[in-house]
């Protein structure tokens, strides 16, 4: 009895320690994902895209600097690139609105997707945003539908679509560029329904519980891989992509190449249908009437 109690005590302690270690890991990842020196979309474009020609504007009312887009050659393939752009200096950050797109940004993405579709160019997106911009003009300018419409239009593309999450994958603003055939994610990037701070403020009623919320949200690449939300975890240099941006870009480039090689073998219509099915499968539910578990992953049940 004593022994088993002792064992139980030690096991509990171990569990707590692991728990702590894990929490620590998650928060470290959040911090690396937000690191000021972390390579941005333009850095990946510089490393991976030859002859990049930036194309601006939504053809409606603005060019949103929080979204960068254009045509270029990815290892011999002509592609369309669209990504969130964060700045590094304060001036840059302000210019790019910290990577928070406004409706004009999503619409710019939409019209570039249409260009890619018309000329059968594969689409590469880079996701790096705290989320959509929570401003009055953005709201009243139709942010909600702009995001929804971007997702629907991505779903309808007949060309291959590969999304790479390279930093913060924040909420709907991130997802708007990630309705892709393959979602790749760097080791130290995060992807989440809400920021840890936002989640803590709502559920814990105290933003100081951010680290705890981060852990609960499971926003890291390995966790998302286990949940089936991403296809590939792209390794980063030790300590994060900012330590060796070139090596980081090489790894991203290799992962994108693999994805494109696979996707370009598929019939466009099949590819489109599979993309839809990919998102149809995401979720965890059970249906006893069907006698089936609800999802391919259901770590715990109710």
């Amino acid at each position: 009895m004593h022994l088993s109690e002792e064992i139980e005590r030690v096991q509990t302690k171990l569990k707590t320690l692991r728990h702590e270690a894990h929490r620590h890991d998650t928060w470290v990842t959040v911090e690396i994902a937000r690191h000021k020196e972390r390579p941005r979309t333009r850095d990946y474009i510089a490393h991976l895209i030859d002859g990049f020609e930036e194309l601006k504007g939504d053809r409606l009312r603005a060019d949103d600097p929080a979204i960068v887009g254009g045509l270029g050659w990815f290892r011999g393939r002509a592609v369309l690139v669209v990504g969130h752009q964060k700045g590094r200096t304060l001036d840059e950050q302000t210019l790019h609105n910290f990577g928070m797109a406004r409706p004009e940004g999503y619409r710019k993405a939409q019209r570039l997707f249409a260009l890619a579709e018309r000329h059968r160019l594969p689409v590469l997106t880079f996701v790096d945003t705290p989320g959509a911009y929570p401003g009055v003009a953005a709201e009243e300018g139709g942010q909600a539908r702009a995001i929804a419409d971007t997702m629907l239009r991505m779903a309808r593309l007949s060309v291959p679509v590969v999304a790479t999450i390279i930093g913060e994958g924040g909420s709907g603003g991130a997802l708007a560029l990630a309705v892709a055939d393959r979602v790749l994610m760097q080791e130290n990037a995060t992807y989440s329904v809400i920021s840890p701070e936002g989640c803590a403020a709502i559920l814990w009623r105290d933003a100081d519980y951010a680290a705890q919320a981060a852990e609960s949200l499971r926003p890291t690449a390995s966790q998302l891989y286990d949940l089936g939300v991403i296809e590939t975890v792209v390794r980063e240099p030790r300590g994060g992509a900012q330590k060796d941006p070139e090596a980081a870009a090489e790894a991203v480039g290799a992962a994108i190449t693999d994805a494109l090689d696979e996707l370009q073998q598929l019939d466009p219509e099949v590819r489109r249908r599979q993309r839809r099915e990919r998102f149809r499968r995401l979720g965890a539910w059970a249906d006893p009437e069907e006698g089936l578990p609800g999802a391919p992953f259901s770590p715990s049940r109710m």
Binding site: A132, L282, G283
Partner: protein
Amino acid sequence: MNVTVEIEHRATDPQRHDWVCRSCHTHSDLAAMRELLYVCPQCGYHARIGARERIRQLTDPGSFTELWSGVKTLDPLGFVDLQTYPERVLEAQGKTGLAEAIVTGTATIADTACVLAVMDFGFMGGSMGSVVGEKLWRSAELAAGEHLPLVAVCSSGGARMQEGILSLMQMAKTSCAVDLITDAGVQFIALLVDPCTGGVVASFATLADICIAEPGAQLYFSGPRVIQQTTREALPAGFGSAERNLELGHLDAVVPRADLRDKLGAYLRLLKGGEGPERGETRGPAGRGTGRLAEAALDRAQAVAAYARRALVRGDRESPDEAQDAPA
């Protein structure tokens, strides 16, 4: 915040007969309010109502057949905040009498058969988790496969945070569901009711052919509090209201509750009245009371529901085309 729940609670409590308007504080008789569809007779305030009451108001009596009520919520992340996720779900189920934040099925609306999906804000703030996404998907798939219109009544506080990234994915999943609808060319009408926010308004709710709202409904992606905390901007008068959204081009119409059933019926008839081979059985604006057509619509709605019940919708019916040999 949960007028919905209050109404439903009171309605089952014979001891309490009065209803107090949230807007003008007038007391009204609860039974009378049911007749008035829970719209304040003094000030026109449209109270929040639950999914069951909404279905009663919108559909032709007895025409609604529920589908997929057994789809169960899971706890994929083992999420714990101040409460565990399962505890929160059980509480919501107790409070609303619903299994989840959406009720789906087939019905006729003003004598037109349709697939109907109704969200309930009383259930964890109408938050969209995997079950909401899945039932919305099945609704869209059934509508596409059976060439029935889809009517969605949307009300939500946003994503179901307790399902983490999987709740975010429901935005993509439901947008892909609209892709099914688009491919099939069926009609899709969304009714946005107070409040409709966050991930729902930024996915399927705003992708409908026709998008209407009830008077006074609050509709936004980021709410006033988040905006003020983040940007410290002053909010314009009426920010997020249905009326302002109409001016801003985001809605087709703002429709009082009493007119909803007729309005939906009119839209459905018009959208399926266009040129084309299998169209044209309902010509002209009148749609109610034409006994034979009404019966045919009801038969169709019920047959589709029976078919959907029999079929293992998942897996069996990959593409809408394959569903064509279902009973029509």
